[in-house]
Amino acid sequence: MIQVIADSLSLGSVYVLFSLGLSLSWSVLGLLNLAYGAQFMLGAYFAYLFGGHVHASLLVVLPVAVVAVAATSVIADYFVFRRLRVRAGTPVESELAMLVASIGLAAVAETIVQNATAGNSEFIPSSTYKVRTLGFGGSTLHITNIQLLMTVVAIALTIAFAAFVKWTRFGRAMRAAAVDPATCELLGVNANRLFSVTMAISGGMAGLAGVLLGIDLTNVQFQMGDPLVTKAFAVIIIGGVGSIAGAAVGGYLLAFAETLVVVYGPSTYQDAISFALIIIVLLVRPTGLFAQRRWQRS
């Protein structure tokens, strides 16, 4: 049972790492960023290229990937999403336009990588980043050092993000802009700057998740982010859009459900049973477990 819990925590950390950045852009900018999987894939390719060819250590690869993918996110916001936000008549139109644009950006990024790699998978040998198995409790518990790192990073980032959004001035501005950007502007908040920083954080998270999960998976491929985007939507919806803690709880909940189905149930029904649980959660709490409360003046 201890191993099952460890497996669930490890898988949940993958989902949490992937979902945090997506959740942030969704809640603050109303951007359901389907290009997030492609950004994640770019992060993984940094792990492959820098580790496999330049032999750089993880301490070098991580910041480089985070900054580089964050930059792609800011560039996408400046040249595409910001313009769509400005030109759209209503928030709904803006969200739809950005959603479609993000599909386009994902296709562009994935096609470039697909052509550059001839569609092949590239592999990251365990030895590249010295991935090894750690045994605890007389070998009753096995976990790799990279899975342990992912778990620690996922939990630490969740706490840090939640604290940042709740208690810092910038975090409060983010929450306010998520509700009413126009009023925020009137109160002196530079909304464009705030959105750029949000996109940078979101992109950086995608880069971070890409590096760590690429190493854990041992391979990178141009469409590797796509299945995780679906899982991340589920995680965010379970937790409640806009809730950092919700994304974390949603990620670990989905992971526990999937692991339990594999270990104790019919594994081929893993997705079906897991998503059935999500439907049940939504039927009970349609806005998710930790939905943000919003007030509206009449």
Binding site: Q3, V4, V14, T133, K231
Partner: protein, 325 residues
């Protein structure tokens, strides 16, 4: 395939006739494969080399049959692709043909129990795990302890490994696509599983490299032995390595090479005025006769390649052929 085209031209096998191949990317999408095949059938294309996925091939096959355009598939090992006497040929023996060799090997190693792990979203891998192997295991007196499928895109195999390690079978079969063997093998070894791990054609030097020493000793059945001393195979390997910077050819390359040669032999056997129908007859004749190719002696039954296959193992850094017992 380009290598075969050049070799055929250099040997003047077809006299002044040149094979020209136009490549179309089906993007592993069934609908795109169908539209590309339909488009090719409507042009002056003489033959098609079909898409490699079974899901695409089963959709393309009826279209090329009704359009009467000779089509040669590689991979696409699922049922319902080749119709005897029709316009479709296949230059990859279905994996079901060389799995008996794998089961015989397991039996020789004293294996009594197995657990199967497989990609449930790919018809070929699911078919081998759920349909092909169980009766072979039963005949060999090997008991299946468990059979567990995952969905394509699964990002963590630890829970599967935990379950298998608890069952502790004598051997574990891993049937997945190319990106899956290494993470599954790593997860199994990390979970403390020490038994035999065996697999299918997704086990290759490049796919196992990621697992490194943890993949040492894994065994798999394949239709291509790059270490073979068969003259045509050795010549192909040498030519391939020379053409592609020393890279070792995979089974996909050998199958593609032989597919082009089947077309060439079919063209040679065309009698009378050239047409697609005449080419189909020529290909049928060439398949019936068989030929020596990169895969070895290519023998066809009902226009489908048949082969008993080879067993290979990974040393942690290279692929070695398991001697036939």
């Amino acid at each position: 395939m380009n290598l075969a085209v050049k070799a055929i031209a250099a040997s003047h096998m077809l006299g002044s006739t040149q094979i020209q191949i136009t490549y179309k990317d089906t993007q592993t999408t069934q609908s795109l494969a169908v539209s590309e095949a339909s488009a090719a059938a409507d042009t002056n294309t003489d033959a098609i080399f079909g898409p490699v996925l079974s899901t695409e091939a089963v959709a393309v096959a009826p279209i090329v049959e009704s359009a009467k355009i000779p089509t040669i598939f590689t991979q696409a090992g699922g049922p319902g692709v080749v119709t005897p006497g029709g316009y479709v040929f296949r230059v990859t023996a279905p994996q079901s043909e060389y799995q008996p060799k794998m089961v015989a090997y397991l039996k020789s190693k004293g294996v009594k129990t197995v657990t199967m792990l497989f990609d449930a979203t790919v018809p070929t891998t699911a078919g081998i795990a759920q349909t092909t192997l169980p009766p072979l295991f039963k005949t060999a007196g090997i008991t299946i302890k468990g059979s567990y499928g995952w969905s394509e895109g699964t990002s963590d195999f630890a829970s599967y490994a935990t379950k298998v390690a608890a069952e502790n079978p004598d051997a574990v079969g891993v049937e997945g696509i190319t990106t899956e063997p290494s993470p599954v093998i790593i997860a199994l070894r990390n979970a403390g599983y020490k038994g035999i791990i065996f697999g299918g054609t997704s086990f290759q030097a490049f796919t196992l490299k990621a697992a490194g020493q943890q993949a040492k000793g894994v065994v798999w059945a394949t239709d291509f032995d790059q270490n073979s001393t068969f003259p045509q195979t050795a010549a192909f390997v040498k030519a391939y390595e020379a053409a592609y910077g020393g890279a070792a050819p995979l089974d996909y390359a050998a199958e593609g090479y032989d597919a082009v040669y089947l077309l060439a032999y079919g063209l040679k056997d065309v009698t009378g005025t050239f047409s697609r129908t005449a080419l189909q007859a020529g290909l049928a004749e060439a398949a019936k006769a068989g030929f020596s190719g990169a895969l070895g002696m290519d023998v066809f039954v009902n226009q489908d390649l048949t082969e008993t296959g080879y067993l290979q193992t990974y040393t942690g850094s290279a692929v070695e052929t398991v001697p036939s017992s």
